[in-house]
Symmetry: none
DNA sequence: CATGAATGAGGGTTCATTCAT
DNA sequence: TATGAATGAACCCTCATTCAT
C-alpha cells in the first residue's frame, strides 16, 4: 500500500469521525507515520485530499447500489425492492466509515466545498430513484402493489431508506440486519396489493 | 433582547450551518456587533456556549413533542400517533435552524462534547419512546393495530420518524407537509389491524 | 475589616506566592468575594495596589527591625547582635507571607515597578547597617570582638543575615529557631575576641 | 548556532530578568529574529522550553560544583571547603544570567512547574551536601575542625553558601571575590579547631 | 518522495481596565 | 461602594502551507 493510499485511507476515517474542520492534517499524518508536508507530495491541498476521497466514496457508493440492483434482477418485485435495501446496507455496514463519510459530506458539507459536493450527489441518487420507480410500476401493474399514486410510493420507499440509513448509527450489524427485515415486512404489508 | 440572548441566537444558526469546529467565535460576535471576549461575560467557554444552546434546543424539542402528544389525547390511536409526527415536525419546520442544529449535534457531535450530548439525548428519546409504546399497545388491545411483536412496531415507527427527519432537509414546508401525510397513510395501512 | 483591607491582605499572599505577573486581579477578588472592578474603587491600578501593599510591608519590616534593636539595648554586644537576628526573624517567621512578599519584591521586582521599589529599599537597609556597625565597633573597642577590619565583620554579619533569610524558605519555625541559634554560635566564635 | 539554541539562550536571559510569567514568547522570538510559532518546532510548549533550559542550567550547576570539588582533591580540608564555595561562585559569576535563572527558579518557581522543579533540585543538592559532610567529618577527625555536632557545622556552611549566593546580586565580580575571601576567613576561624 | 524549519493567519482565552448604573 | 457589561491588547498555541534540502 503506497503512502498516498495510506493517507487517503486514514484521512477518510478521520474525516468521517471528526469532520473536515475537526480533522487537522497532523492527525492524519501522525497515524500514517509521516510528517504533515508529505501530504503535499500527493495532494495540492487539504481540500483536494478531501475531494479525492470523496470521489472514491461516491464511486464505490454508486457501484454498490448498481450491483445490488443487478443482483436482484431475477426475483419477485418484493424481493428485488428488498434487495435494494439489503444490498446497499450490507455494503454500508461492511464499510461503516465510508458510509459515515458519505453521509456527513452529503448532509453537512464543509463550507468551502459545498457547491462542488452537492453537484456530484445528484447523479447517483438519480440512478437509484429510476430503478425504484421501475420496480414500483411493475409491482402495480402486476398487482402485487396497491394502486396508489406512484410518487407516494416512491416517497415512502425513500423515507424508509433514509430512516434505515440513520438507524445504522445506533445499532450494530446483527441487530440492524434483523430490524431491517422486520421493518421491511411492515412497510411491504403497507404497500402490498390486497 | 439581551446581548446574551443575541449571542445564543446567532451562535445557533452558525453552529447549525458550519458546525462547532467550523464556527469561530469571531463569526458569531461579529454578527452580534460585539467583540469576541464579550462571550466570556456570559459563557465560560465556547463549549459552554454550545452546551447552553443545546440544552435550550433539547428542551424545546421535548416540549414540542410533549405538547403534540397532549393535544391529541382525545383522538383515535391513529390520530394520536400521527399527531406525534406532525407535532414534532410542524415545530421543527418552523424552527428550521434549530432542527439542523439538533440533528447535527445528534449525528455528528463535536468530539469534546460527545459524551455529554449523547447522555442528554437518551433522556428525551426515552420519554418519547415510552409514549409511543403506550399508544401502540393500546392500538393492539383495541384491535386497530395488527397483533405483531410490539418491538417491531416500535422499530418501524422510529424508522419512519428518522426517515422523515432526514427528509426535512430536502423539501420545503409545503411539500413536506404533504409527503408526511402520504407516508403516514402508507405506514398506517401497513400496521393497521385487518 | 473593610473591603479595602481585605483586598490588600489577600493580594499580599497572592503576590507573595505567585508574583506580580503571576497573580491576576481576579484571583484576589474571587477570594475576597467581590468582583474585579471593585479593586478600582480603592486603587488606581494593579500597580498601585501592589505599591500600597509594598509600602505597608516596608514599614512593618522597618519597625520590626527597629524594635528588635531597641529591645536589645541593655545586653552584651553578643546578645544585642543576636537579638537583631532573632528579632527580625521572629517577626518574619510569624509573618511568613509578608516576608516572602518582601523578599520577592526585593530580589525580583516586577519590571514596571523596579525603579520605584529599589529606591525605597535603601532607607531601611541603611538604618540597619548603621546599627550593626555601631555594635561591631563597640565590640571591638571593648575587646569582645577580634580586631579586624570593620567592613569585613559587617560583610560577614550581612552574609549571615542573608543566609538565614534564605533558609527561612526551607525550614519550619521550630527547626529554624534552633538552627538560628547554632549558626549564631558558630559565627560568634569566629569573630569573638580571643 | 542553531535557531533552537538561540531560542534557549535568549529565553534564559528573559526568564532570568522577567520571570516565566513576565516573559511572553514573543519577546524571545523577536530578539531571535523569528516568529513566535517557530518555538513550537523545537519545544512542545512554553513550559517545555523553560524546563529544557532548566535542565541545562541544573546540569551546568552540578558539573561546576563537581569540578570544583575534584580540582581541590589534593589540598587541606580548609582549601577544599573553600574551593567548593569559590568553584561554584566563579562559575556563577561568569554566568550571571544563568545564576539568576537558577535562583529564581529555585526560590519562586512558576506555579505550574513547581513540583517538577523542586524534585530536580533535591538531587543536585543531595550530592553537594554529601561532599561537604565528608569534608567536615575529615576535618573533625584530623583535628583541623572543632569537634561539634556535625549537623551544626553543615547548617553553618549551607547558611554561608546561601548568604553568599544572595550577595551575588548586590556586588560586582571583583568586590564579590574579595568579600568571599574575607567572609570565609571569618567562618573558618569560627569552626577551626583550637 | 519526504523532511525540518519557518510562517501568516487565526483561534480560544485571559486580563487589566473603563463606564454606566 | 460595588457591579455587570464590554473592550483592546496580548498571550499561548494550532494549522495549513511553503520551501530548501
Amino acid at each position: 500500500m503506497t503512502t498516498r493510499d495510506k493517507i487517503k485511507a486514514v484521512a477518510m476515517t478521520h474525516f468521517a469521525k471528526g469532520g473536515y474542520e475537526g480533522t487537522p492534517l497532523s492527525a492524519i499524518t501522525k497515524e500514517v507515520g509521516v510528517t504533515t508536508p508529505a501530504v503535499y507530495a500527493f495532494f495540492g491541498s487539504k481540500e483536494e485530499l478531501f475531494l479525492s476521497i470523496f470521489e472514491d466514496v461516491l464511486k464505490n457508493h454508486y457501484h454498490s447500489v448498481k450491483e445490488a440492483i443487478e443482483e436482484a434482477k431475477s426475483g419477485t418485485v418484493e424481493q428485488r425492492l428488498y434487495q435494494i435495501l439489503r444490498g446497499a446496507f450490507t455494503y454500508h455496514v461492511s464499510h461503516e466509515e465510508e458510509t459515515i463519510f458519505y453521509k456527513r459530506a452529503m448532509m453537512f458539507p464543509p463550507a468551502p466545498l459545498e457547491d462542488k459536493l452537492k453537484e456530484r450527489f445528484g447523479e447517483t441518487e438519480g440512478m437509484l430513484t429510476g430503478e425504484i420507480l421501475t420496480l414500483l410500476t411493475e409491482g402495480i401493474e402486476t398487482g402485487v402493489i396497491d394502486d396508489r399514486p406512484i410518487e407516494d410510493l416512491l416517497d415512502g420507499f425513500l423515507c424508509l431508506m433514509d430512516g434505515l440509513f440513520l438507524q445504522m448509527f445506533y445499532y450494530d450489524e446483527k441487530k440492524y440486519e434483523q430490524k431491517l427485515h422486520n421493518i421491511w415486512k411492515l412497510f411491504w404489508s403497507g404497500i402490498a396489493g390486497s
